[in-house]
Amino acid sequence: MMKKWLALLLAGIMSLSGCSASKQSIDPQNASWDEIVEAAKGSTVTFYGWGGDENRNNWLNTTVAEQVKDKYDITLEVVGMDINDILAKLSGEKQANATKGSIDMIWINGENFYSAKENGLLYGPFTDKLPNMENYIDLDDPETLNDFCMPIDGYEAPYAKAQMVLFNDSAVTPETPANAAEFMEFCKKYEGKVTYPALPDFTGSAFVRNIIYDLCGWEQFQTMEADYDTVKTAIEPALDYLRQLNPYLWNQGKSFPESSTKVDAMFADGEVVMNMSYSPFSVATGIDQGIYTDTTRTFVFDNGTIGNTNYMAIAYDAPNKAGAMVVINEIISADIQLTQYAQLKELPVVATDKLSADEKAAFGAVDLGQGVLSQAELLAHRLPEMPASLVPIIEEIWLNEVVGK
């Protein structure tokens, strides 16, 4: 008798909890897009990512947040955090076997995507659920399929395109070095006034890869094995070059500024005469804000500079996966991509041939501002990224073989 009651009670509790669970959340994998949008209604989505760019924060908190609020009644909460810390936080949650975390969307790419996906920190595949992938994105573009040579498999959707650019002030330095050799001459002429951020800083790391491409070619790296000695042998000419460069750099190359933000400040201060950025139109923004002089101008190496796409992913334990999918879908729309292009001057990820005539005209009408290269000029000098697994190896080699040598 007693047992029967107990069984009934247990069954009752189980069905109760089962009920409430199905009410709170749907399984986005098996739901239709309408059901996902419905489930996301009235919810809050957290978006974690690098918060060092005030303009981007501002754009996310106003333009994007307002649009998803109006259209889907979703509250977007933007949290500025370095990707390393985000992954550390996520892996901490994973270690604690958490099923419900605190992060929904993540701004990510490259080696961090590689590692997060390898270690099961991401949710997916989900991009096949997003209508705007089909509507606006070129699904056969290598940068839609692979991130730093790592197959994306539907675990992240494109956010913006970036490309490495160099810039200096024509009133201070008339030269624009067009390759590594000219860059060396430039550093000799302006001794002590050129530097790059210490690796593993994102920008510094990309700059060193660019030097490697210029001296060793880029093709061999696309299929290279991620092995310290193999990589070191392959990049030896570049290491040699960087060591020869050191004596002419800021602080004689004995130390490097710890972050790109620091180099930006040093450039604005005149302590260094050249700067670099992974945001191709950052000079226009800087001139606009009065940080850089009107005579500052962007240039790239003749052989090209590295470009990549950065992406949005969803955490494996995201409390609001449906909401995150809706927001990501919205961000890859022509609408939002246009505001990103116009307000932040970021290269859009939408495919031009999928745009309507009006949309095309709107993109064409965007005034990029002073001191920048055109989109066409940039894309003509665009080189693909290396496999993500090579990046940390190069960073380690740089620390061992270049600094202070």
Partner: protein
């Protein structure tokens, strides 16, 4: 009966914090032994410690951190004791001047780093003044005081904060000794210096030693100052450990934790020394310090 619970109840917040710290320490140790099931690492091994002690970067980072800790603790203790003596002698062991002494103690390390950068960098205030006065014609000619391999700027920043700390820490003991035994010695004909070196200083030494240990542990485990004011390589140990911790290769996590383990063991050893010292002092002074 009820009353006897009160102290424990009041200590509850402390126990909660202690428990959290112990759990994190436990996690650090476990992960440093290679146990992170979430990344498929499940065998306990000392290999990570062995590997870390063969890494050149780790060894030089350990050396850097030990050097920063030793140099700043030694100098801060010596200069702090002197400052303390000056305060006692001038009758400032209480009063407004003490607020000034306490100011650097309250200042966060990151803020101190910003001070140092804006004053001493090659485009800092002093470089600009030198440029204005025509001593240098280019920012490059101003001596590079920051980001040097000897971590001088970080040590200087520690000194700015810790000299007042030592003075403040030793003040109570020294002023009571100086006003009783020190003055007695002087009344009996000892010169002020002799009274300082033979009476006041030796008797204040225990407090100074304790201050030394506190600063040593702190500077050894400190992250902000060496990160912001130090050079790219060699890094200080906490900076190196953090870099390893944030490496995108998550399976390298145990290496980072092994470095943290080393910081932990050394800090614990220092804390133990501190405890022993305190106990010994209690015996010596019969309970009154």
């Amino acid at each position: 009966m009820k009353r006897s619970y009160t102290p424990y109840l009041l200590l509850l917040p402390f126990f909660v914090i202690m428990a959290l710290i112990l759990v994190s320490i436990w996690n650090v140790l476990l992960q440093s032994l290679g146990y992170i099931p979430a990344f498929g690492l499940t065998t306990l091994t000392l290999d990570y410690y062995k590997a870390v002690f063969q890494q050149e970067e780790f060894l030089s980072a350990l050396e850097v951190s030990l050097r920063i800790a030793l140099q700043s603790a030694l100098l801060a203790t010596m200069l702090g004791v002197l400052l303390c003596y000056a305060l006692v002698k001038r009758g400032h062991s209480k009063g407004e001047l003490l607020y000034l002494v306490r100011l650097p103690i309250l200042m966060p390390h990151a803020v101190v780093a910003v001070f140092v950068i804006s004053l001493f960098s090659q485009t800092g205030l002093f470089a600009r003044i030198a440029y204005m006065l025509g001593f240098i014609i280019d920012f490059n000619q101003f001596p590079a005081l920051l980001y040097t391999e000897n971590y001088g700027a970080a040590i200087a920043a520690y000194l700015w904060k810790e000299i007042p700390f030592v003075a403040y820490f030793v003040l109570a003991l020294m002023s009571s000794i100086s006003s009783t035994l020190g003055e007695a010695a002087e009344n009996l004909g000892a010169s002020p210096w002799r009274s300082f070196f033979q009476i006041t200083l030796p008797l204040s030494l225990p407090a100074a030693l304790k201050a030394f240990l506190i600063i040593f542990i702190f500077a050894f485990g400190g992250y902000e100052l060496p990160f912001l004011l130090g050079t790219t390589v060699p890094k200080a140990l906490p900076v190196q450990a953090y870099m390893a911790y944030t490496s995108p290769e998550l399976r390298d996590r145990p290496y980072a934790m092994a470095m943290n383990g080393v910081i932990l063991f050394l800090s614990l050893a220092m804390a133990l020394l501190y405890a022993l010292l305190t106990r010994k002092l209690l015996k010596q002074t019969g309970g009154r310090e």
